[in-house]
């Protein structure tokens, strides 16, 4: 049997990092919040201590605070109107997640462009053509990419 004492110590440090890693988080908050039904939608900069409010600048670790109505609207099967919508998305944790949602949304009929903002957790979707997608269509595509749509901003 061979034991590498120094490396074992390093392992303990690494283990401690693992245990402590997710607990630290630099004050970032990781929880979606649903305001009361009919409540105003806000963007809360949780990690940076930004106050809640419609004008709050999104920061990393943001929790999309949305109303029950917003969530319900993401399941609507009524075709969207207009040239673009902004999707508020949870789970956009890495660059390849952004590529995943790109690919998933580009397969939806009526989607002409996709632009991912990793910092804000939002995706700008261009719409065009005769057949427009419904919020439900976009929600399913986002789900395919292993992400969660919490609001559609028209």
């Amino acid at each position: 049997m061979t034991t590498y004492t120094k490396l074992t110590a390093a392992m303990v440090v690494a283990g401690a990092m693992m245990v402590g890693g997710c607990a630290g988080g630099g004050g970032q908050v990781g929880r979606a919040e649903v305001a009361g039904a009919g409540g105003a939608t806000t963007g809360a900069g949780a990690g940076a201590g930004a106050g809640a409010g419609a004008e709050a600048k999104p920061t990393e670790g943001v929790v999309h605070s949305v109303s029950a109505k917003d969530l319900a609207e993401t399941h609507s099967t009524t075709a969207l109107e207009g040239d673009e919508v902004t999707l508020w998305v949870n789970g956009l944790g890495c660059p390849q997640c952004a590529t995943n949602i790109d690919k998933a949304l580009e397969n939806v009929r009526g989607v002409t462009s996709v632009q991912v903002d990793l910092g804000a957790g939002k995706v700008l979707v261009g719409l065009g053509g005769r057949s427009r997608p419904s919020p439900h269509d976009l929600s399913e595509a986002v789900k395919d990419a292993a992400l969660t749509l919490v609001k559609i901003e028209k």
Binding site: M1, T2, T3, Y4, L7, T8, A10, M11, A14, G15, M17, M18, V19, G21, C22, G24, G25, G26, Q28, V29, G30, R31, A32, G47, P58, T59, E60, G61, V62, V63, H64, V89, N90, G91, L92, G93, C94, P95, Q96, C97, A98, T99, N100, I101, D102, K103, A104, N107, D117, L118, G119, A120, G121, K143, D144, A145, A146, L147, T148
Partner: protein
């Protein structure tokens, strides 16, 4: 075929390796270290090509004349998004094995081979995205290694993977069991964990820390991470290894890069040589 029950020291190793990971089938996607699976995968229809190169040096054969064995491995992996929450990983390692031994004992030897192809399905059965960055996911992995080292055998394996990402931090945990139906005889210089006739249990843990950018912006297209893994290999013949793997990784929207060093922490090996060190580099290209 030599098999034995789970020994006391193996159980102790399980306890000691609570945070550990292993040299698993490297089924990977976003925010994932080199040796540890994550519960992430490409979207349906997407394909990831992941070539990886490893150089691993082992010490003396416990039972033979060899003084050192070096494995040069080119691991060609492809991961395909099959459907919602399903993916398939196919992996074929090409190995050049160089064995050193004293001339009096017959000298060294070398061989080149593609000795196995692994097929692994991954199904994500749990997902909770509770923040713009933050996510928790769990997946089951299962498949088989078609082993051609000594005849053709299929070694089934099954495991679970858990991933949590919180802001700058990510943790992956993986446990996987492979039942060996064939394998080559133990106590040879040119075998690694899982190559012999014993079943293999792998327990891997990785910590991934994003050090750049500190905060994603609207124009962010890539990120740098440092990674630290604990890799545990436990065979039913009693051989057990605990390894530490520090590394660095760049993850882009399409192309990613990874490099890692792997060092032994503790070995309880009777059937095969001990790892001295291993280095690995890899690319991930998403189509």
């Amino acid at each position: 075929m030599k098999r034995s029950g789970v020994s006391q020291r193996m159980l102790l190793s399980v306890v000691a390796g609570v945070a550990a990971v292993g040299v698993g089938e490297r089924v990977s996607f976003g925010q994932e270290a080199m040796y540890t699976n994550a519960a992430t995968m490409p979207v349906a229809g997407a394909l990831m090509f992941r070539p990886q190169a490893f150089v691993s040096q082992y010490g003396a054969d416990p039972d033979g004349p060899s003084t050192r064995t070096t494995f040069y491995t080119m691991d060609l992996g492809v991961q395909i998004g099959l459907a919602l929450a399903w993916s398939l990983n196919i992996q074929a390692p090409l190995e050049y094995v160089d064995t050193n031994a004293p001339l009096a004992a017959g000298g060294g030897d070398h061989e080149v081979a593609v000795e196995s192809v692994d097929f692994t399905f991954k199904h994500r059965f749990f997902m909770e995205n509770n923040g713009t960055i933050d996510t928790m996911r769990a997946a089951v992995i299962f498949g088989g290694r078609v082993d051609t080292k000594d005849g053709v055998n299929v070694d089934p394996h099954v495991g679970v993977v858990f991933t949590k990402v919180h802001g700058l931090h990510g943790v992956n945990l993986e446990a996987d069991y492979m039942m060996t139906t064939g394998g080559i005889e133990d106590r040879l210089a040119n075998i690694q964990g899982g190559d012999g006739t014993a079943d293999l249990f792998r327990f891997n843990a990785s910590y991934v820390y994003r050090f750049w950018p500190e905060t994603f912006t609207s124009t962010s297209t890539g990120a740098w991470y440092v990674t630290a893994e604990l890799n545990t290999l436990m065979e039913t013949n009693g051989d057990t290894e605990l390894r530490w793997s520090p590394g660095i990784m760049y993850e882009g929207r399409v192309v990613s890069f990874e490099a890692m060093l792997q060092l032994p922490v503790a070995n309880w090996l009777d059937q095969r040589p001990e790892l001295d060190w291993s280095v690995g580099m890899g690319l991930r290209i998403l189509f």
